[in-house]
Amino acid sequence: MARLPTDVETEIDRFCNNIKQNTYTRSVDIALATIYILKKLIGESKWSNASELITLIRSQAHRLNQGQPVDSITFNITRRILKLIREVSVRIIHGKNEGSDISLTLQAVLNDRTATSTINDEDHTEENLQPKKQQTQNNITETNSINNIEGGVSVLRLKPELMDDLNWYSSEIELSVKNLSQQALAHIHANELILTLGYSYTVEQFFKYAASKKRQFHVFILEHAPFFTGHKMAINLSQLNIPVTVVTDSAVFAIMARVNKIVIGTRSLLANGGLTAKSGTYNLALAAKHYNVPLLVCAPTYKFSPTYLPSFDPVMCNSFPSPENILSYESIFQSSLDIVVPMHDYVPPELVTLIIGSGMGNAPSYVYRIVSELYSAEDNDLERLQKESLK
């Protein structure tokens, strides 16, 4: 069976520690680091065929995501790479003359459909009988069953093609923010008043592009207390000669009537089109709904997640940093004082107007479609696997 070499193990541990200790400032960095780790894993560990590789990656997926209970970026990347492996194996089996990418993905979708039904049934037997099965699989002629297809694809043919695809994928992610920001001119019109919340690298690039094309607009920035990332955003934008006004979070309803459009970033985009975003976004979205101001969400492809909100308990999908930003340590010598600092908010899809992905804008109701194209359905259970491993 496939096994991890020790240096990949340590690499994974370090990656987890880095994420937990917030060494990566941008989500792109996390995405790129995940690809790097998975590339290393594929390149250096021992596996003989595609299905072994898939089980190996799936077994490591929850470890990669340990650092970030809220974010799903590493999961998304893992899923996407699993999907790539499946695609590549299909391509190898059916020959390169199969046709364009579109037909391939369509076929993959079809395969997914059949696979979900078969895999769920075989789940238990598969693990126990894996070695035997593979031997028999090699003898069986290539049929429609996806397991057989993957089992038949050997390292020698899969690895080079897969590495090409991974390189292409990582460059796609590197460019995703740029591609996204290039749509700015379509959304930001002259002399508009645009509201945003806190600092987001993607949103900053979005405004930057619009400003570089000489579009005149005014930005209101909610300061995002108590982290005050909005201040950083304001400084960065004002250096580009964009007129900026910083507004306190509590004034969001009061200023909403003046605002033409809202552009925000998000931590992750759920399959139903809902968001987990910075705390205060829900307020913002509700106010926007009240005044019918369009709410645009910038979400690069790697933030699309095929999962739904695990629960409506705000604690479960949140993180709680130090209360230092709110009251100084010295002032609290009474234990009766309790401070709660949630970092994230859930915004339901009905409050979101448009999601700006790397390619084009989509309605939140369309997210499920994109998600099903990006990932194969059998990998949607990664989160469930993680929870099981916790127990």
Partner: protein, 820 residues
């Protein structure tokens, strides 16, 4: 594009960032308690992980590439923890472990480190147990230190503090042992003076204020992070000056010798961030609760726990078989269960049994496989693994380690309960108790504040004697037991496991003797651990029976720490006179404990009690006892001030000129007449040996300590003020000495021969004045102007003896002269 590899690689080209942790508090009281828990303080559990883990996480976050651990006692436990932890696998070559078993102080540890010869660059030194919890990144300290060096080549150390916004007494993580007064330049942050003494007033030398381009700034009680960025030279200095045993002494020494050696020290003040250097039990509890309240984010339990991958200790180094011995203590750290965070800061580690009717309020950590029964009320507490908490028990602000059983209807507040303790029903435990390993508390027992209950016989520290309310006859065999244990310990420190098992056997035999049923109840087991200071002469012979993991005779008797394990200042107990009186002896410690509890710990309103304490301090001063009543307040105050000055001068070995300048400055401040001044000086010189800090050291004999002080400073003072040619001052000196001797016949009066002889030989007093003075005195006695009381007779006899000798010597001299 960011490099997805380790961020540490950024620094690799320049130099390795090194951090040195000294994992010992060097506090006898703390170490004594620690020795009964079988875990060193740095491995005490804080929310499921050892304290040390939080520090290592901090350092890794700061991009430190090499962590050097210096461990004294317990080096095996610490080593076995490090070997089995995931650190070595995730970050090979990160942690280096150096055992310093012989080290008795920070200075010794650093000397050992110097010998290893591995430090070539600047390094961060974490002292004071080496366990710092912070959410700041420390790597910028290197840059600050380097910039200080760029400005001033002589800079060898940068001390790090955290500024406090409020009164330090109100600060939750202030304990008495962090008292500090710094005088520094407000622009360059260079340190000019440094004092950790607990004084009413601090003196700034005038030269400092006259220096050009220096703006003096005083920092009173900043929060000491116990962090110092050091140049490699610091190690050499520690090696060359073996009297530097702590950082305080080092800093004082460097600042004092600044003109000779030319080294300087700078300081750096953090203005934000959470800092807590855990070096006593109060701070240990503080750290636990602060982490539960997420002040240390991102170092919070659920994140830390998820960082340690679920692993069994499969990889153990086969070359080190001893390491496995200690596994039983540490095994619970090896398996890491995921922690679920719930609202109101409640942390649940893996599988726990929580009754539906239990009331878990907030800031609670519940360990793996613990059972909480119905009606239990928990608040701000840590419950370890596999604990059982009985019905209707109430636990507040307490730390409970692993495998603890607590009965029904108990109330536990502000206490630490270690492994395997059993608490039966209806027990009440008050503030700041520690129940060490294996203690059993019987039903209906009420433990008062500040108790330390132990169940093991091992006495490991030099200055510890158990206080058991039994006859001397029974305690005698006990001492033997201690000795045998000590031998066993010293012979087999390697296999502490073994000694523990033997100990437990001996425990069962000794149970009737060691267990104090008055304290822990009939069905309980354990006795109180108490400390008697070395002032007490009676305890001395016993003290040397044993010592801390070190079988060498401890001749340089470790100085008693001024602070107890909870970080409270220990008031000097005036038990010199009471030592013969057992009743008083028992009452006295209680009094001081009570006064301790009034200290500013939780309630800010208690600052006043601080003043009270200092008043008590003053009244205990021996000088004020002797000060005559008819003297004005000013004079007696002045005299105390003189004594204090001399004492400080003696201990810090100040220069003669400086002392005299200081004394001269006191004269106008207190507005005393010249005769009063002279009298006070004389009195101060002879009363100086009574001062605690001087009599503490080695000699308790009055004459010996007087001689020491005389040799060093006071004879010069006398010479300076009582010129040998000046009749008036010589006579007043003799009169002063006379009155002191009469007041203190016991230690001083009977030594008059030695004193006068000393003064005579050192040319402080000329013989002609002695003779003249004695004649006058005799005349007075003859005229019945002076009545000799019976107890004073010995003094006059001695005096007469000396004068006769003096006359004889003189006449011999004369004879010789004649012959010539």
């Amino acid at each position: 594009m960011v490099k997805p590899t380790n961020i540490n690689s950024d620094y690799r080209e320049e130099e390795r960032l090194t951090c040195v942790l000294v994992l010992d508090t060097f506090n006898n009281y703390t170490n004594e308690i620690v020795s009964h828990t079988s875990l060193p303080l740095c491995l005490w559990p804080v929310d499921g992980r050892p304290l040390l883990d939080y520090t290592i996480h901090t350092l890794i976050r700061s991009g430190i590439q090499e962590i050097i651990l210096l461990a004294t006692s317990y080096s095996y436990e610490i080593r076995s923890y490090i070997m089995n932890s995931h650190w070595l696998q995730t970050y090979p070559k990160l942690i280096r472990f150096i055992p310093c078993k012989e080290a008795r102080s920070l200075g010794d540890c650093l000397k050992d480190l110097e010998q290893e010869n591995i430090i070539n660059n600047h390094f961060i030194l974490l002292y004071g147990n080496g366990t710092l919890i912070t959410n700041e990144k420390l790597n910028n300290l290197f840059n600050i230190h380097k910039e200080n060096i760029k400005k001033d080549k002589n800079c060898i150390m940068t001390l790090v503090y955290r500024q406090l916004d409020s009164n330090h007494f109100e600060h939750p993580s202030y304990t008495d042992d962090q008292h500090l007064c710094i005088i520094r330049d407000a622009n360059t942050y260079r340190l000019y003076d440094y004092s950790t003494e607990y004084l009413d007033r601090y003196e700034i030398s005038l030269d400092l204020l006259e220096k050009p381009n220096v703006t003096i700034e005083t920092l009173y009680c900043p929060l000491d992070c116990h962090v110092a960025v050091c140049s490699p030279d610091v190690l050499h200095l520690f090696k060359d000056n073996f009297d530097y045993s702590t950082i305080n002494e080092f800093v004082k020494g460097i600042v004092r010798d600044e003109e000779i050696a030319g080294h300087t020290i700078y300081s750096y003040l953090y203005e934000t961030g959470y800092f807590l250097s855990v070096h006593n039990l109060r701070l240990y509890m503080k750290a636990t609760f602060d982490i539960l309240r997420r002040w240390s984010y991102p170092l919070v339990p659920e994140i830390i726990a998820s960082m340690h991958k679920q692993q069994l200790s499969t990889i153990t180094n086969p070359t080190l078989p001893q390491i496995k011995l200690n596994d039983s203590y540490l095994s619970f750290y090896n398996i890491c269960y995921p922690i679920i965070y719930d609202k109101h800061n409640i942390y649940k580690q893996g599988d726990i049994q929580l009754d539906r009717l239990s009331n878990i309020q907030q800031d609670v950590f519940i360990g793996y496989k613990s059972q909480i029964l119905s009606g239990v009320c928990l608040r701000s507490s840590l419950i370890g693994q596999s604990c059982i908490i009985g019905k209707n028990t109430k636990i507040e602000n307490s730390i409970i380690w692993n495998h603890v059983q607590i009965g029904e209807n108990c109330i536990i507040k502000n206490s630490i309960i270690c492994d395997n303790v059993v608490i039966r029903n209806n027990v009440q435990i008050d503030k700041e108790c520690i129940l060490c390993k294996n203690v059993i508390i019987g039903t209906n027992v009420h433990l008062n504040q500040h108790m330390t209950i132990i169940a093991s016989n091992s006495i490991t520290s030099t200055n510890v004697v158990d206080e058991i309310e039994i006859d001397e006859d029974i305690s005698a065999p006990l001492k033997n037991v201690k000795r045998s244990n000590s031998k066993q310990r010293s012979s087999s420190t390697m296999s502490s496991e073994k000694s523990v098992s033997e100990k437990s056997i001996s425990l069962s035999i000794e149970e009737t003797i060691t267990s104090n049923s008055d304290l822990v109840g009939i069905d309980g087991f354990g006795r109180q651990l108490s400390f008697i200071s070395t002032h007490d002469d009676q305890t001395k012979p016993i003290e040397h029976t044993d010592d801390d993991d070190d079988d060498i005779n401890d001749n340089d008797k470790s100085q008693l720490n001024a602070f107890d394990a909870w970080g409270y200042r220990i008031e000097p107990i005036e038990n010199r006179d009471l030592s013969h009186d057992d009743e008083d002896n028992e009452i006295k410690p209680k009094q001081y404990r009570l006064s301790n509890l009034k200290k500013p710990s939780d309630q800010p309103s208690d600052i006043q009690s601080e003043d009270e304490n200092s008043e008590i301090d003053d009244s205990e001063d021996p000088s004020s006892e002797t000060g005559s009543i008819n003297e004005t307040n000013d004079v007696s105050e002045f005299q105390q001030e003189v004594i204090r000055t001399l004492e400080r001068a003696y201990r810090q070995k100040l220069h003669m000129e400086n002392i005299i300048v200081e004394l001269n400055m006191l004269k106008p401040t207190y507005d005393v007449s010249p005769t009063e001044f002279d009298r006070s000086i004389v009195r101060a010189v002879f009363l100086l040996p009574f001062e605690k800090k001087i009599s503490n050291s080695e000699t308790t004999n009055y004459w010996n300590s007087l001689k020491l002080t005389m040799d060093q400073i006071t004879q010069f003072i006398l010479k300076n003020y009582m010129k040998i040619t000046n009749e008036q001052s010589q006579i007043s000196l003799l009169n002063g000495l006379d009155s002191i001797c009469l007041k203190h016949i016991q230690p001083i009066g009977e030594r008059i021969v030695n004193i006068l002889n000393y003064l005579y030989e050192n040319d402080v007093i000329d013989e002609q004045w002695i003779l003249q003075w004695y004649e006058n005195k005799q005349k007075k006695i003859e005229n019945n102007e002076l009545i000799i009381k019976p107890e004073e007779k010995i003094y006059y006899d001695k005096l007469k003896q000396f004068v006769e000798w003096l006359q004889n010597a003189e006449s011999e001299d004369d004879d010789q002269d004649d012959e010539d």
